[in-house]
Protein backbone atom coordinates (compact mmCIF):
# COMPACT_ATOMS: atom_id res chain seq x y z
CA UNK A 1 0.00 0.00 0.00
CA UNK A 2 1.28 3.46 -0.82
CA UNK A 3 2.35 5.70 2.02
CA UNK A 4 0.32 8.44 0.41
CA UNK A 5 -2.85 6.57 1.26
CA UNK A 6 -1.88 6.26 4.88
CA UNK A 7 -0.60 9.79 5.37
CA UNK A 8 -3.00 12.02 3.55
CA UNK A 9 -1.62 15.52 4.01
CA UNK A 10 -3.91 18.09 5.57
CA UNK A 11 -7.30 16.45 5.52
CA UNK A 12 -10.06 18.93 4.87
CA UNK A 13 -12.04 17.66 7.81
CA UNK A 14 -10.96 15.68 10.87
CA UNK A 15 -11.16 11.93 10.42
CA UNK A 16 -14.47 10.64 11.70
CA UNK A 17 -14.72 7.74 14.11
CA UNK A 18 -15.61 4.55 12.33
CA UNK A 19 -19.26 4.07 12.96
CA UNK A 20 -21.84 1.86 11.43
CA UNK A 21 -25.48 1.14 11.96
CA UNK A 22 -24.66 -2.54 11.87
CA UNK A 23 -23.14 -2.24 15.34
CA UNK A 24 -26.27 -0.61 16.71
CA UNK A 25 -29.11 -1.49 14.36
CA UNK A 26 -31.85 -0.15 16.64
CA UNK A 27 -30.06 3.03 17.60
CA UNK A 28 -30.27 1.90 21.21
CA UNK A 29 -29.30 4.48 23.81
CA UNK A 30 -29.60 2.92 27.24
CA UNK A 31 -32.43 2.17 29.63
CA UNK A 32 -35.36 4.56 29.96
CA UNK A 33 -37.00 2.74 32.84
CA UNK A 34 -37.28 -0.61 34.57
CA UNK A 35 -40.68 -1.83 35.68
CA UNK A 36 -41.55 -3.95 38.69
CA UNK A 37 -44.91 -5.67 39.00
CA UNK A 38 -46.36 -6.36 42.43
CA UNK A 39 -49.62 -6.38 44.30
CA UNK A 40 -47.86 -4.68 47.25
CA UNK A 41 -46.63 -1.47 45.65
CA UNK A 42 -46.15 0.37 48.94
CA UNK A 43 -43.90 -2.32 50.39
CA UNK A 44 -41.74 -2.17 47.27
CA UNK A 45 -41.85 1.62 47.37
CA UNK A 46 -40.34 1.54 50.82
CA UNK A 47 -37.43 -0.56 49.57
CA UNK A 48 -36.91 1.76 46.62
CA UNK A 49 -36.88 4.80 48.89
CA UNK A 50 -34.23 3.14 51.03
CA UNK A 51 -32.20 2.76 47.84
CA UNK A 52 -32.46 6.51 47.29
CA UNK A 53 -35.41 6.61 44.85
CA UNK A 54 -38.22 9.12 45.30
CA UNK A 55 -41.83 8.69 44.15
CA UNK A 56 -42.42 11.60 41.79
CA UNK A 57 -45.49 10.87 39.65
CA UNK A 58 -48.64 8.77 39.33
CA UNK A 59 -50.06 7.21 36.20
CA UNK A 60 -53.19 8.91 34.86
CA UNK A 61 -55.37 5.83 34.56
CA UNK A 62 -53.70 2.92 36.30
CA UNK A 63 -52.19 2.03 39.62
CA UNK A 64 -48.64 2.80 38.60
CA UNK A 65 -46.10 4.92 40.41
CA UNK A 66 -42.90 6.43 39.00
CA UNK A 67 -39.76 6.51 41.18
CA UNK A 68 -36.67 8.43 40.22
CA UNK A 69 -33.16 9.31 41.27
CA UNK A 70 -30.63 10.94 38.99
CA UNK A 71 -31.00 9.38 35.55
CA UNK A 72 -32.81 6.27 36.79
CA UNK A 73 -36.51 5.72 36.44
CA UNK A 74 -38.30 2.82 38.10
CA UNK A 75 -41.95 2.14 37.46
CA UNK A 76 -43.94 0.17 40.02
CA UNK A 77 -46.95 -1.41 38.37
CA UNK A 78 -49.75 -2.76 40.55
CA UNK A 79 -52.26 -2.85 37.72
CA UNK A 80 -52.83 -6.58 37.36
CA UNK A 81 -54.46 -6.34 33.94
CA UNK A 82 -51.41 -5.06 32.09
CA UNK A 83 -48.39 -6.47 33.89
CA UNK A 84 -47.91 -10.21 34.29
CA UNK A 85 -47.13 -10.73 37.97
CA UNK A 86 -48.90 -7.64 39.27
CA UNK A 87 -51.25 -9.92 41.18
CA UNK A 88 -48.37 -11.46 43.11
CA UNK A 89 -47.05 -10.15 46.38
CA UNK A 90 -43.45 -10.98 45.57
CA UNK A 91 -42.31 -8.20 43.23
CA UNK A 92 -40.73 -9.14 39.94
CA UNK A 93 -38.97 -7.17 37.26
CA UNK A 94 -41.65 -7.19 34.59
CA UNK A 95 -40.19 -4.94 31.90
CA UNK A 96 -37.19 -3.05 30.63
CA UNK A 97 -37.78 0.01 28.48
CA UNK A 98 -34.99 0.67 26.02
CA UNK A 99 -34.29 4.03 24.49
CA UNK A 100 -34.11 3.76 20.71
CA UNK A 101 -33.49 6.22 17.89
CA UNK A 102 -36.92 5.51 16.43
CA UNK A 103 -39.21 3.28 18.47
CA UNK A 104 -41.37 2.26 15.54
CA UNK A 105 -38.39 1.37 13.37
CA UNK A 106 -36.82 -0.56 16.23
CA UNK A 107 -40.06 -2.41 16.87
CA UNK A 108 -40.43 -3.37 13.22
CA UNK A 109 -36.78 -4.40 13.02
CA UNK A 110 -37.06 -6.90 15.89
CA UNK A 111 -40.47 -8.21 14.76
CA UNK A 112 -38.97 -8.94 11.35
CA UNK A 113 -36.31 -11.04 13.07
CA UNK A 114 -38.55 -13.12 15.27
CA UNK A 115 -39.64 -11.07 18.29
CA UNK A 116 -43.15 -11.52 19.72
CA UNK A 117 -45.30 -8.42 19.73
CA UNK A 118 -47.10 -7.77 23.01
CA UNK A 119 -50.48 -6.08 22.70
CA UNK A 120 -50.50 -2.81 24.61
CA UNK A 121 -53.48 -1.24 26.31
CA UNK A 122 -53.05 2.48 26.02
CA UNK A 123 -56.02 4.51 27.20
CA UNK A 124 -57.30 7.63 25.52
CA UNK A 125 -54.54 10.22 25.06
CA UNK A 126 -51.90 7.86 26.40
CA UNK A 127 -48.79 6.76 24.60
CA UNK A 128 -48.85 3.48 22.74
CA UNK A 129 -45.40 2.18 23.69
CA UNK A 130 -44.44 -0.84 21.56
CA UNK A 131 -43.38 -3.94 23.46
CA UNK A 132 -42.03 -7.43 22.77
CA UNK A 133 -41.72 -10.54 24.91
CA UNK A 134 -38.48 -10.97 26.83
CA UNK A 135 -37.30 -13.55 29.33
CA UNK A 136 -39.74 -15.37 31.58
CA UNK A 137 -42.84 -13.41 30.63
CA UNK A 138 -41.15 -10.02 30.98
CA UNK A 139 -41.40 -7.33 28.33
CA UNK A 140 -39.03 -5.11 26.45
CA UNK A 141 -40.38 -1.68 25.53
CA UNK A 142 -39.00 0.75 22.99
CA UNK A 143 -39.07 4.45 23.78
CA UNK A 144 -37.82 7.23 21.54
CA UNK A 145 -39.08 10.29 23.45
CA UNK A 146 -36.39 10.77 25.99
CA UNK A 147 -34.60 13.93 24.88
CA UNK A 148 -36.83 16.94 24.25
CA UNK A 149 -40.02 15.25 25.40
CA UNK A 150 -40.57 12.67 28.06
CA UNK A 151 -43.06 9.82 28.08
CA UNK A 152 -43.84 10.61 31.70
CA UNK A 153 -45.16 14.04 30.80
CA UNK A 154 -47.97 12.33 28.85
CA UNK A 155 -48.92 9.30 30.90
CA UNK A 156 -48.09 10.51 34.42
CA UNK A 157 -49.21 13.33 36.69
CA UNK A 158 -46.47 14.73 38.95
CA UNK A 159 -47.05 14.32 42.67
CA UNK A 160 -47.56 17.93 43.88
CA UNK A 161 -44.67 19.70 45.59
CA UNK A 162 -42.29 16.78 44.99
CA UNK A 163 -38.93 17.53 43.38
CA UNK A 164 -39.24 16.01 39.90
CA UNK A 165 -35.52 15.43 39.45
CA UNK A 166 -34.10 14.20 42.75
CA UNK A 167 -30.33 13.81 42.67
CA UNK A 168 -28.79 10.35 42.59
CA UNK A 169 -27.53 8.93 45.87
CA UNK A 170 -23.76 8.35 45.72
CA UNK A 171 -23.72 8.76 41.92
CA UNK A 172 -25.95 5.74 41.23
CA UNK A 173 -26.63 4.94 37.57
CA UNK A 174 -27.87 1.89 35.63
CA UNK A 175 -25.15 -0.66 35.10
CA UNK A 176 -27.07 -3.70 33.96
CA UNK A 177 -29.70 -6.35 34.50
CA UNK A 178 -29.15 -9.93 35.62
CA UNK A 179 -31.26 -12.57 33.89
CA UNK A 180 -31.65 -16.09 35.21
CA UNK A 181 -31.93 -18.61 32.40
CA UNK A 182 -32.60 -22.32 32.08
CA UNK A 183 -29.86 -24.94 32.00
CA UNK A 184 -27.93 -25.01 28.74
CA UNK A 185 -29.74 -21.91 27.50
CA UNK A 186 -26.82 -19.45 27.40
CA UNK A 187 -26.24 -19.78 23.67
CA UNK A 188 -29.94 -19.36 22.88
CA UNK A 189 -30.10 -16.08 24.76
CA UNK A 190 -26.74 -14.83 23.51
CA UNK A 191 -28.02 -15.31 19.96
CA UNK A 192 -31.41 -13.77 20.78
CA UNK A 193 -29.90 -10.55 22.12
CA UNK A 194 -27.27 -10.39 19.39
CA UNK A 195 -29.79 -10.90 16.59
CA UNK A 196 -32.41 -8.49 17.92
CA UNK A 197 -30.40 -5.85 19.77
CA UNK A 198 -26.84 -6.12 18.47
CA UNK A 199 -25.33 -6.96 21.87
CA UNK A 200 -21.68 -7.91 22.05
CA UNK A 201 -20.27 -10.74 24.10
CA UNK A 202 -17.86 -9.68 26.88
CA UNK A 203 -14.82 -11.99 27.16
CA UNK A 204 -14.91 -14.36 30.13
CA UNK A 205 -11.81 -12.82 31.73
CA UNK A 206 -13.46 -9.41 31.97
CA UNK A 207 -15.87 -9.20 34.89
CA UNK A 208 -17.40 -6.45 36.99
CA UNK A 209 -18.57 -6.41 40.58
CA UNK A 210 -18.57 -9.30 43.01
CA UNK A 211 -21.03 -11.61 41.25
CA UNK A 212 -19.07 -12.78 38.20
CA UNK A 213 -21.04 -15.91 37.31
CA UNK A 214 -22.48 -16.48 33.87
CA UNK A 215 -22.24 -14.68 30.55
CA UNK A 216 -21.97 -10.93 30.08
CA UNK A 217 -23.46 -9.11 27.11
CA UNK A 218 -23.24 -5.39 26.45
CA UNK A 219 -25.81 -3.44 24.47
CA UNK A 220 -24.62 -0.84 22.00
CA UNK A 221 -25.63 2.79 22.57
CA UNK A 222 -25.50 6.00 20.59
CA UNK A 223 -23.93 7.61 23.64
CA UNK A 224 -21.22 5.22 24.83
CA UNK A 225 -21.90 6.02 28.51
CA UNK A 226 -25.43 4.65 28.09
CA UNK A 227 -24.34 1.12 27.23
CA UNK A 228 -25.45 -1.44 29.78
CA UNK A 229 -24.81 -5.07 30.65
CA UNK A 230 -27.00 -8.13 30.49
CA UNK A 231 -25.72 -10.95 32.66
CA UNK A 232 -27.09 -14.42 31.86
CA UNK A 233 -26.88 -16.89 34.72
CA UNK A 234 -27.66 -20.59 34.31
CA UNK A 235 -28.63 -22.71 37.34
CA UNK A 236 -26.11 -25.00 38.98
CA UNK A 237 -26.39 -28.59 37.74
CA UNK A 238 -29.08 -30.58 39.57
CA UNK A 239 -30.83 -27.47 40.85
CA UNK A 240 -34.59 -27.78 40.64
CA UNK A 241 -35.35 -24.11 39.92
CA UNK A 242 -34.80 -23.85 36.20
CA UNK A 243 -37.16 -20.93 35.62
CA UNK A 244 -36.21 -17.86 33.63
CA UNK A 245 -36.64 -14.30 34.89
CA UNK A 246 -35.04 -10.91 35.24
CA UNK A 247 -33.49 -11.35 38.65
CA UNK A 248 -31.92 -8.09 39.76
CA UNK A 249 -30.77 -4.65 38.74
CA UNK A 250 -27.09 -3.76 38.74
CA UNK A 251 -26.36 -0.19 39.74
CA UNK A 252 -23.06 1.51 38.90
CA UNK A 253 -21.41 3.77 41.47
CA UNK A 254 -18.08 5.63 41.27
CA UNK A 255 -17.11 4.59 44.81
CA UNK A 256 -18.66 1.39 46.11
CA UNK A 257 -17.58 1.82 49.73
CA UNK A 258 -18.92 5.36 49.90
CA UNK A 259 -22.17 4.27 48.25
CA UNK A 260 -22.58 1.39 50.70
CA UNK A 261 -22.03 3.81 53.56
CA UNK A 262 -24.60 6.25 52.17
CA UNK A 263 -27.19 3.51 51.54
CA UNK A 264 -26.61 1.92 54.94
CA UNK A 265 -27.43 5.29 56.42
CA UNK A 266 -30.76 5.10 54.57
CA UNK A 267 -31.41 1.66 56.06
CA UNK A 268 -30.23 -0.69 53.31
CA UNK A 269 -28.60 -3.91 54.49
CA UNK A 270 -25.80 -5.54 52.51
CA UNK A 271 -24.78 -9.17 52.35
CA UNK A 272 -21.53 -9.80 54.24
CA UNK A 273 -20.56 -13.43 53.91
CA UNK A 274 -17.40 -15.19 52.84
CA UNK A 275 -18.94 -15.81 49.41
CA UNK A 276 -20.29 -12.31 48.83
CA UNK A 277 -19.30 -9.18 50.69
CA UNK A 278 -18.76 -5.51 50.19
CA UNK A 279 -15.47 -4.55 48.59
CA UNK A 280 -14.14 -1.94 46.18
CA UNK A 281 -15.39 -3.84 43.15
CA UNK A 282 -18.95 -4.20 44.31
CA UNK A 283 -21.55 -5.12 46.88
CA UNK A 284 -24.94 -6.77 47.01
CA UNK A 285 -27.96 -5.93 49.13
CA UNK A 286 -29.92 -8.50 51.04
CA UNK A 287 -33.07 -9.82 49.39
CA UNK A 288 -36.11 -7.71 50.20
CA UNK A 289 -39.73 -8.87 49.92
CA UNK A 290 -38.63 -12.30 48.76
CA UNK A 291 -37.13 -11.17 45.46
CA UNK A 292 -35.81 -7.61 45.34
CA UNK A 293 -32.02 -7.38 45.20
CA UNK A 294 -29.74 -4.59 44.07
CA UNK A 295 -26.13 -5.09 43.15
CA UNK A 296 -23.62 -2.27 43.29
CA UNK A 297 -20.78 -2.29 40.80
CA UNK A 298 -17.78 -0.01 40.58
CA UNK A 299 -18.33 2.13 37.49
CA UNK A 300 -16.95 5.59 36.96
CA UNK A 301 -19.38 6.75 34.28
CA UNK A 302 -22.07 9.12 35.36
Amino acid sequence: MSDLLLNTPDPREPLQASFSDAANPLGLDGIEFIEYATSKPQALGQVLEMMGFRPIARHRSREILLYRQGGLNIVVNAHAADAPGANQEVPQISAIALRARDARAAYNYVLERGAWAVPTHAEVMELNIPAIHGAGGSRIYFVDRYKEFSIYGVDFVPIPSVEQHPAATAGIHFFGVVQYIGPGRSNDWIEFYRELFGTELIPDDLRFGIMPKGTLLRTPALDATQRFMLQLVEPEPHVLDTGEKLQRIGLGVPDVLAAVQALRALGVEFVETAAAHTERRGAITKTYLGSVVFELVHSAQE
Binding site: E112, A115, G134, N187, E191, F192
Partner: protein, 301 residues
Protein backbone atom coordinates in the same frame (compact mmCIF):
# COMPACT_ATOMS: atom_id res chain seq x y z
CA UNK B 1 -49.35 -52.67 34.22
CA UNK B 2 -45.93 -53.31 32.75
CA UNK B 3 -43.00 -51.41 34.10
CA UNK B 4 -40.39 -50.08 31.76
CA UNK B 5 -37.84 -51.75 34.01
CA UNK B 6 -38.62 -54.96 32.17
CA UNK B 7 -36.36 -53.67 29.45
CA UNK B 8 -34.68 -50.35 29.15
CA UNK B 9 -36.26 -48.49 26.26
CA UNK B 10 -36.58 -45.13 27.90
CA UNK B 11 -35.07 -43.39 24.91
CA UNK B 12 -37.98 -44.57 22.74
CA UNK B 13 -41.51 -43.25 22.55
CA UNK B 14 -44.67 -43.55 20.51
CA UNK B 15 -46.42 -40.86 18.51
CA UNK B 16 -50.08 -40.12 19.12
CA UNK B 17 -50.59 -40.22 15.34
CA UNK B 18 -50.24 -44.02 15.39
CA UNK B 19 -53.23 -44.65 17.63
CA UNK B 20 -56.95 -44.08 17.17
CA UNK B 21 -59.31 -42.76 19.79
CA UNK B 22 -59.26 -40.06 22.43
CA UNK B 23 -56.02 -38.63 23.81
CA UNK B 24 -56.47 -40.13 27.29
CA UNK B 25 -56.90 -43.64 25.83
CA UNK B 26 -53.74 -43.22 23.73
CA UNK B 27 -51.71 -42.04 26.70
CA UNK B 28 -53.01 -44.91 28.83
CA UNK B 29 -52.12 -47.50 26.19
CA UNK B 30 -48.60 -46.11 25.85
CA UNK B 31 -48.04 -46.01 29.57
CA UNK B 32 -49.31 -49.51 30.04
CA UNK B 33 -46.98 -50.75 27.33
CA UNK B 34 -44.13 -49.31 29.42
CA UNK B 35 -43.35 -46.13 27.50
CA UNK B 36 -42.25 -43.04 29.40
CA UNK B 37 -42.55 -40.42 26.66
CA UNK B 38 -44.95 -39.38 23.93
CA UNK B 39 -44.66 -37.36 20.74
CA UNK B 40 -47.71 -35.13 20.57
CA UNK B 41 -49.46 -33.54 17.64
CA UNK B 42 -51.44 -30.34 17.40
CA UNK B 43 -54.88 -31.86 16.98
CA UNK B 44 -54.46 -33.92 20.16
CA UNK B 45 -54.97 -30.56 21.81
CA UNK B 46 -57.34 -28.68 19.59
CA UNK B 47 -59.56 -31.71 18.95
CA UNK B 48 -59.89 -32.52 22.63
CA UNK B 49 -63.52 -32.28 23.79
CA UNK B 50 -62.45 -30.51 26.98
CA UNK B 51 -60.38 -27.98 25.03
CA UNK B 52 -56.73 -27.07 25.16
CA UNK B 53 -56.34 -26.90 28.94
CA UNK B 54 -57.97 -30.28 29.49
CA UNK B 55 -55.66 -31.86 26.91
CA UNK B 56 -52.59 -30.34 28.53
CA UNK B 57 -53.78 -31.59 31.90
CA UNK B 58 -54.34 -35.08 30.47
CA UNK B 59 -50.76 -35.19 29.26
CA UNK B 60 -49.45 -33.98 32.62
CA UNK B 61 -51.62 -36.49 34.49
CA UNK B 62 -50.36 -39.33 32.32
CA UNK B 63 -46.85 -38.95 33.75
CA UNK B 64 -45.48 -39.26 30.22
CA UNK B 65 -42.80 -36.82 29.15
CA UNK B 66 -43.38 -34.94 25.91
CA UNK B 67 -40.76 -35.98 23.35
CA UNK B 68 -41.80 -33.10 21.16
CA UNK B 69 -44.67 -31.46 19.35
CA UNK B 70 -45.59 -31.75 15.69
CA UNK B 71 -45.83 -30.38 13.15
CA UNK B 72 -45.25 -27.00 11.58
CA UNK B 73 -45.57 -27.35 7.81
CA UNK B 74 -44.57 -25.23 4.84
CA UNK B 75 -43.15 -22.44 6.99
CA UNK B 76 -40.05 -21.41 5.15
CA UNK B 77 -39.34 -19.66 1.87
CA UNK B 78 -42.55 -17.66 1.59
CA UNK B 79 -42.81 -13.92 1.18
CA UNK B 80 -45.24 -11.09 1.81
CA UNK B 81 -48.62 -11.98 3.30
CA UNK B 82 -47.96 -15.72 3.00
CA UNK B 83 -44.92 -15.36 5.21
CA UNK B 84 -46.76 -13.32 7.82
CA UNK B 85 -49.63 -15.80 7.80
CA UNK B 86 -47.19 -18.63 8.47
CA UNK B 87 -45.48 -16.69 11.25
CA UNK B 88 -48.86 -16.45 12.98
CA UNK B 89 -49.39 -20.20 12.58
CA UNK B 90 -45.91 -20.86 13.93
CA UNK B 91 -46.57 -18.70 16.99
CA UNK B 92 -49.71 -20.67 17.80
CA UNK B 93 -47.81 -23.94 17.41
CA UNK B 94 -45.05 -22.66 19.69
CA UNK B 95 -47.59 -21.62 22.32
CA UNK B 96 -49.21 -25.06 22.29
CA UNK B 97 -45.79 -26.72 22.43
CA UNK B 98 -44.87 -24.59 25.45
CA UNK B 99 -48.19 -25.26 27.16
CA UNK B 100 -47.43 -28.98 26.98
CA UNK B 101 -43.97 -28.45 28.40
CA UNK B 102 -42.42 -29.86 25.22
CA UNK B 103 -39.04 -28.43 24.31
CA UNK B 104 -38.88 -29.57 20.68
CA UNK B 105 -41.08 -28.36 17.84
CA UNK B 106 -40.85 -30.36 14.64
CA UNK B 107 -40.85 -28.27 11.47
CA UNK B 108 -41.07 -30.06 8.12
CA UNK B 109 -39.49 -28.79 4.93
CA UNK B 110 -41.85 -26.94 2.64
CA UNK B 111 -43.75 -28.74 -0.10
CA UNK B 112 -45.10 -25.51 -1.50
CA UNK B 113 -44.38 -24.44 -5.05
CA UNK B 114 -44.88 -20.87 -3.88
CA UNK B 115 -41.78 -21.11 -1.71
CA UNK B 116 -38.38 -19.96 -2.82
CA UNK B 117 -35.65 -22.50 -3.57
CA UNK B 118 -32.89 -20.19 -2.33
CA UNK B 119 -31.30 -22.01 0.60
CA UNK B 120 -30.12 -18.77 2.20
CA UNK B 121 -33.63 -17.36 2.26
CA UNK B 122 -34.93 -20.65 3.67
CA UNK B 123 -32.22 -20.44 6.34
CA UNK B 124 -33.19 -16.85 7.15
CA UNK B 125 -36.81 -17.86 7.76
CA UNK B 126 -35.82 -20.78 9.95
CA UNK B 127 -33.58 -18.46 11.92
CA UNK B 128 -36.57 -16.24 12.55
CA UNK B 129 -38.59 -19.26 13.65
CA UNK B 130 -35.81 -20.22 16.05
CA UNK B 131 -35.74 -16.68 17.49
CA UNK B 132 -39.50 -16.85 18.07
CA UNK B 133 -38.88 -20.06 19.99
CA UNK B 134 -36.13 -18.68 22.28
CA UNK B 135 -38.29 -16.94 24.92
CA UNK B 136 -40.43 -20.08 25.20
CA UNK B 137 -37.41 -22.33 25.68
CA UNK B 138 -38.19 -24.38 22.58
CA UNK B 139 -35.80 -25.91 20.06
CA UNK B 140 -36.72 -26.32 16.40
CA UNK B 141 -36.04 -29.66 14.72
CA UNK B 142 -36.04 -29.10 10.96
CA UNK B 143 -36.85 -32.22 8.98
CA UNK B 144 -36.52 -32.82 5.26
CA UNK B 145 -39.70 -34.44 3.93
CA UNK B 146 -38.84 -36.85 1.14
CA UNK B 147 -41.32 -34.99 -1.06
CA UNK B 148 -40.20 -31.54 0.02
CA UNK B 149 -40.08 -29.00 -2.79
CA UNK B 150 -36.50 -27.86 -2.22
CA UNK B 151 -35.32 -29.66 0.89
CA UNK B 152 -36.10 -33.37 0.58
CA UNK B 153 -33.09 -35.07 2.15
CA UNK B 154 -31.57 -34.64 5.58
CA UNK B 155 -28.31 -33.62 3.93
CA UNK B 156 -29.95 -30.50 2.49
CA UNK B 157 -31.79 -29.88 5.76
CA UNK B 158 -28.42 -29.99 7.51
CA UNK B 159 -26.98 -27.54 4.98
CA UNK B 160 -29.83 -25.12 5.72
CA UNK B 161 -29.41 -25.53 9.48
CA UNK B 162 -25.71 -24.74 9.14
CA UNK B 163 -26.46 -21.65 7.07
CA UNK B 164 -28.98 -20.45 9.65
CA UNK B 165 -26.44 -21.11 12.43
CA UNK B 166 -28.72 -20.68 15.40
CA UNK B 167 -28.22 -22.53 18.70
CA UNK B 168 -31.83 -23.68 19.06
CA UNK B 169 -32.22 -24.78 15.44
CA UNK B 170 -31.20 -28.32 14.54
CA UNK B 171 -32.27 -31.19 12.34
CA UNK B 172 -34.90 -33.83 12.84
CA UNK B 173 -34.18 -37.16 11.18
CA UNK B 174 -37.05 -39.38 10.03
CA UNK B 175 -35.92 -42.82 8.92
CA UNK B 176 -38.87 -43.10 6.55
CA UNK B 177 -37.78 -40.08 4.55
CA UNK B 178 -34.15 -41.16 4.61
CA UNK B 179 -35.05 -44.60 3.27
CA UNK B 180 -37.66 -43.34 0.80
CA UNK B 181 -35.26 -40.78 -0.66
CA UNK B 182 -32.44 -43.37 -0.59
CA UNK B 183 -30.05 -40.88 0.99
CA UNK B 184 -26.75 -42.70 1.68
CA UNK B 185 -26.66 -43.54 5.39
CA UNK B 186 -22.96 -42.72 5.49
CA UNK B 187 -24.00 -39.04 5.27
CA UNK B 188 -25.08 -39.32 8.91
CA UNK B 189 -21.44 -39.37 9.90
CA UNK B 190 -21.13 -35.74 8.81
CA UNK B 191 -23.78 -34.46 11.21
CA UNK B 192 -23.07 -32.83 14.55
CA UNK B 193 -24.82 -35.05 17.13
CA UNK B 194 -25.57 -32.08 19.37
CA UNK B 195 -27.55 -30.53 16.51
CA UNK B 196 -29.81 -33.53 15.99
CA UNK B 197 -32.83 -32.53 18.07
CA UNK B 198 -35.09 -35.49 17.27
CA UNK B 199 -35.00 -38.84 15.51
CA UNK B 200 -38.20 -40.39 14.27
CA UNK B 201 -38.22 -44.03 13.29
CA UNK B 202 -40.51 -46.01 11.00
CA UNK B 203 -40.18 -48.65 8.33
CA UNK B 204 -42.52 -49.48 5.45
CA UNK B 205 -43.51 -52.44 3.36
CA UNK B 206 -42.51 -51.47 -0.18
CA UNK B 207 -39.00 -51.88 -1.52
CA UNK B 208 -39.11 -48.68 -3.53
CA UNK B 209 -40.96 -45.39 -3.53
CA UNK B 210 -39.48 -43.60 -6.52
CA UNK B 211 -42.06 -40.83 -7.00
CA UNK B 212 -43.14 -38.11 -4.60
CA UNK B 213 -46.75 -39.35 -4.91
CA UNK B 214 -45.79 -42.89 -3.86
CA UNK B 215 -43.74 -41.55 -0.97
CA UNK B 216 -46.63 -39.44 0.22
CA UNK B 217 -49.18 -42.24 0.01
CA UNK B 218 -46.85 -44.70 1.74
CA UNK B 219 -45.76 -42.25 4.41
CA UNK B 220 -49.32 -41.40 5.32
CA UNK B 221 -50.92 -44.86 5.38
CA UNK B 222 -48.44 -47.73 5.20
CA UNK B 223 -45.64 -47.15 7.68
CA UNK B 224 -44.85 -49.86 10.23
CA UNK B 225 -42.73 -50.04 13.36
CA UNK B 226 -38.99 -50.68 12.99
CA UNK B 227 -38.43 -54.40 12.62
CA UNK B 228 -41.79 -54.96 10.93
CA UNK B 229 -40.90 -53.68 7.47
CA UNK B 230 -38.55 -54.63 4.70
CA UNK B 231 -35.74 -52.18 5.53
CA UNK B 232 -34.73 -53.53 8.93
CA UNK B 233 -31.07 -53.66 7.98
CA UNK B 234 -31.02 -50.01 7.00
CA UNK B 235 -32.97 -48.97 10.12
CA UNK B 236 -30.42 -50.82 12.23
CA UNK B 237 -27.57 -49.20 10.35
CA UNK B 238 -29.13 -45.75 10.77
CA UNK B 239 -29.62 -46.17 14.52
CA UNK B 240 -26.13 -47.60 15.00
CA UNK B 241 -24.55 -44.79 13.00
CA UNK B 242 -26.41 -42.20 15.08
CA UNK B 243 -25.35 -43.94 18.26
CA UNK B 244 -21.73 -44.18 17.15
CA UNK B 245 -21.81 -40.51 16.21
CA UNK B 246 -22.78 -39.74 19.81
CA UNK B 247 -26.51 -39.09 19.48
CA UNK B 248 -28.15 -39.74 22.88
CA UNK B 249 -31.45 -37.98 22.32
CA UNK B 250 -34.92 -39.41 21.88
CA UNK B 251 -36.25 -41.79 19.24
CA UNK B 252 -39.94 -41.63 18.52
CA UNK B 253 -41.99 -43.95 16.35
CA UNK B 254 -43.55 -41.90 13.60
CA UNK B 255 -45.79 -44.66 12.32
CA UNK B 256 -48.73 -43.59 10.16
CA UNK B 257 -50.67 -46.74 9.37
CA UNK B 258 -54.33 -47.05 8.39
CA UNK B 259 -54.58 -50.59 9.76
CA UNK B 260 -53.23 -49.56 13.16
CA UNK B 261 -55.95 -46.95 13.38
CA UNK B 262 -58.45 -49.83 13.28
CA UNK B 263 -56.87 -52.01 15.94
CA UNK B 264 -57.32 -51.97 19.71
CA UNK B 265 -54.85 -49.53 21.24
CA UNK B 266 -53.10 -52.09 23.49
CA UNK B 267 -52.46 -54.29 20.42
CA UNK B 268 -50.71 -51.47 18.59
CA UNK B 269 -48.84 -50.30 21.69
CA UNK B 270 -47.62 -53.86 22.18
CA UNK B 271 -46.17 -53.87 18.65
CA UNK B 272 -44.44 -50.59 19.46
CA UNK B 273 -43.09 -52.06 22.68
CA UNK B 274 -41.63 -55.04 20.81
CA UNK B 275 -39.99 -52.71 18.35
CA UNK B 276 -38.56 -50.51 21.10
CA UNK B 277 -37.25 -53.49 23.02
CA UNK B 278 -35.59 -54.86 19.90
CA UNK B 279 -33.89 -51.55 19.14
CA UNK B 280 -32.88 -50.81 22.70
CA UNK B 281 -31.75 -54.25 23.82
CA UNK B 282 -30.71 -56.09 20.67
CA UNK B 283 -29.51 -53.25 18.45
CA UNK B 284 -28.21 -50.59 20.85
CA UNK B 285 -27.61 -52.99 23.75
CA UNK B 286 -28.83 -50.50 26.32
CA UNK B 287 -28.93 -52.88 29.26
CA UNK B 288 -28.60 -50.11 31.79
CA UNK B 289 -30.09 -46.63 31.85
CA UNK B 290 -27.95 -43.93 30.30
CA UNK B 291 -26.18 -41.74 32.82
CA UNK B 292 -27.96 -38.45 33.46
CA UNK B 293 -31.13 -39.65 31.74
CA UNK B 294 -34.38 -38.45 33.26
CA UNK B 295 -36.19 -41.23 35.11
CA UNK B 296 -39.89 -41.17 35.75
CA UNK B 297 -41.36 -42.95 38.68
CA UNK B 298 -43.69 -45.78 37.78
CA UNK B 299 -47.32 -44.84 38.34
CA UNK B 300 -49.09 -46.70 41.11
CA UNK B 301 -51.65 -49.30 40.13
Amino acid sequence: MRLHTEGNFEGFGMDTITLAGPLEAKLKAMREAGFTQVMLKANDLVGHPGGLDAAVQAVKDSGLRGTGFQVLRDFEGLSGHLHHYKVDIAKSMLEMCAALGCTVLLACSSTSRHATQDLDLIARDLRKLAMLAVPLGIRIAYEGLSWGHTVNEFTTAWDVVCRADCPNLGVGIDSFHVLAAKTPLSEIDYLDPSKIFLVQLADFLWQDTPTFEERMATARTMRVFPGEGVHSEQVVELVLRLDKLGYRGDYSFEVFNDDFLNLPLPTVAERARKSALWLAEDVLKRSVPLPGQMRLKAMAG
